[in-house]
């Protein structure tokens, strides 16, 4: 794992970003890479929704200055969202995130320290978020701004433990969290070789399909001042009128 000079090995944060071609793709990846470039001991796993790696993403990664692995995994045609499909249809990025999980399982040593974070290319991440997640042992959680029809969605914490969730959208979900609202310790992931995102999961249940195989809600580790600080925002970028 990459380390800062000085020898102290910070656990590597593996940032998993699925991405797909559309006009704003390059802009999104450029500004995300600029945020990630500030974070020490970070390895970016970029997984294209494509049949082969593209020069656009390859070139961008090569000049980003980051440590990275460039992967690809095409979404099967029958599962692909067609233009005009309502957004509540099947979740996106499943095959790509699972591809990253496969890479981790094939290349990381058992017991290797690290944290895995699923960072979509259009969200906004503060630098402090990465500091908070670095100490993840099992699964850590924190609030996410601008999601679920609320100003923010967040776990409810009492006595340092998660006791519930503040959310307005499908609160009956086992883990009513956004993809950007949790991180998983690498050892935990490697210890559960079957844990993955369910391609058949209904939208909103993707996170639960992974986390359910790893922890119970009571075992979640609250970060960001007992889940009172918003350090990540679920921003979405408009389609350019062209």
């Amino acid at each position: 794992a990459a380390v800062g000079e000085g020898g102290e090995a910070l656990p590597t944060i593996f940032v998993v970003t699925p991405t797909y071609a559309r006009p704003v793709q390059k802009a999104e990846l450029v500004r995300l890479s600029q945020t990630l470039l500030h974070v020490p001991s970070l390895h970016w796993l970029v997984v294209e929704d494509s049949a082969a790696p593209t020069p656009l993403v390859g070139g961008l990664l090569a000049s980003s200055g980051l440590s990275y692995t460039h992967l690809y995994a095409p979404t099967p045609p029958e599962k692909r969202r067609k233009p005009g499909d309502p957004p509540w249809l099947r979740a996106r990025g499943v095959e790509q995130r699972n591809r990253a999980l496969r890479w981790l399982r094939e290349t990381r040593r058992p017991g290797e320290s690290g944290v895995v974070y699923f960072a979509d290319d259009d969200n906004t991440y503060s630098l402090r978020l990465f500091q908070e997640m670095r100490s993840t042992r099992g699964v850590s959680v924190w609030p996410v701004g601008l999601v679920g029809g609320l100003r923010f969605e967040r776990p409810l914490v009492e006595g340092g433990r998660v006791v519930g969730f503040h959310t307005a959208w499908k609160p009956e979900r086992p883990f009513p969290l956004d993809m950007a609202g949790f991180a998983v310790g690498l050892p935990l992931l490697l210890a559960h070789p079957g844990a993955r995102f369910d391609p058949e999961a209904e939208r909103g249940y993707l996170e639960s399909s992974l986390l359910g195989g790893l922890v119970t809600p009571a075992q979640l580790e609250p970060k960001a001042d007992n889940c009172t600080q918003v350090l990540v925002w679920h921003t979405r970028t408009e389609k350019p009128r062209a």
Partner: protein, 317 residues
């Protein structure tokens, strides 16, 4: 029996080291980075050249993995005595995505050497949210505010629609520059208007640093096109505009598509963005026509063939 001066000597030696280790240990910014960042300015440029990177192909074809083992940059980069300062003027207004936009813009600006961020709130007074945000970034900044007058004849909270958003704020920043810097002996500087929702490559800032009067470049996602761009002839001069939206504007260019040398701002001390009576798309022209002619424009980004800035817009949540 140790003498008093021996004890004093030991204390004077041990105490500073104790303090140093305590402070170092508590520092929230990983101390490794600050200490081990060596000779400043050229570090980032050397990145492509001499870094220690391993590339190897795994069993799946076409997987590229690059592991870099060099240090991570201090935030922001150390100030250089030789680089012109880039004064980035960003008007901003309160709405749900504001903090997110400013956070990610700050993350970009933190990579740029000799950058001075002039953030101008559209508000009655400087807000605690923005005050805290600016302070926490570590950037070199100036925090201003001016409120665009509201039009009470319309629904409650509407600003005067005849004044394009951001105009008064940009003009205030220009006024601040003119009050702060003396046109005779000011440090070299470049002025750039960067709205808080666009996306800027780091290369863009280095391109604009050599601006003598006004430099220009393409901008993606404006004017109803994939990109808008100045048209550059074989002599390297701008002769027109590649755009579909009103190409006969004097300067058919987006706010993000040009930068102005600070000297020119100080010399033409009355030049500013026109407040009222400005048709859509003519804001930029209202300033630029008081500063330069077409012939004076300096094309950047490989004679305006590369996209280094994108006019992204964020959805309302």
């Amino acid at each position: 029996m140790p003498k008093r001066r021996d004890i004093l000597a030991i204390v004077l030696i041990v105490l500073p080291w104790t303090l140093l280790i305590t402070v170092w240990h508590q520092s929230t910014i990983a101390p490794l980075l600050a200490v081990h960042k060596d000779d400043g300015g050229d570090s980032r440029r050397d990145l492509a050249a001499g870094l220690d990177s391993k590339e190897y192909c795994l069993s799946d074809r076409d997987i590229v993995e690059v592991v870099r083992t060099e240090y991570v940059y201090t935030r922001p980069p150390p100030w250089s005595d030789t680089l012109p300062t880039i004064h980035v003027i960003t008007p901003t207004y309160s709405r749900p995505v504001q903090k997110a936009e400013l956070t990610r813009l700050a993350n970009t600006l933190l990579h740029v050497p000799n950058l001075h961020w002039i953030l101008v709130e559209d508000s009655q007074r400087r807000t605690p949210l923005i005050t805290r945000l600016l302070r926490d970034t570590g950037l070199n900044y100036t925090h201003l505010n001016v409120e665009t007058p509201r039009n009470y004849k319309l629904r409650g909270d509407m600003r005067d629609p005849r004044i394009p958003r951001g105009t008064m704020q940009r003009n205030l920043a220009l006024r601040w520059l003119r009050e702060t810097f003396n046109k005779n002996n000011s440090q070299p500087g470049i002025v750039y208007f960067a709205d808080d929702d666009n996306t800027y490559s780091l290369e863009l800032f280095e391109e604009m640093r050599s601006t003598r009067k006004v430099s220009v470049w393409p901008v993606a996602f404006v004017g109803g096109l994939r990109y808008e761009s100045p048209k550059v002839n074989a002599a390297g001069k701008v002769y027109g505009w590649k755009t579909v939206f009103d190409p006969h504007r004097p300067f058919a260019i987006d706010m993000a598509g040009f930068a102005v040398n600070l000297r020119l701002i100080l010399q033409r001390s009355q030049a500013c963005f026109k407040l009222r009576g400005v048709k859509g798309g003519y804001q930029e022209s209202s300033l630029l026509r008081e500063l330069v002619t077409l012939n004076d424009l300096e094309p950047k980004a490989a004679n305006c063939t590369k996209i280094l800035v994108w006019h992204t817009r964020t959805e309302k949540p």
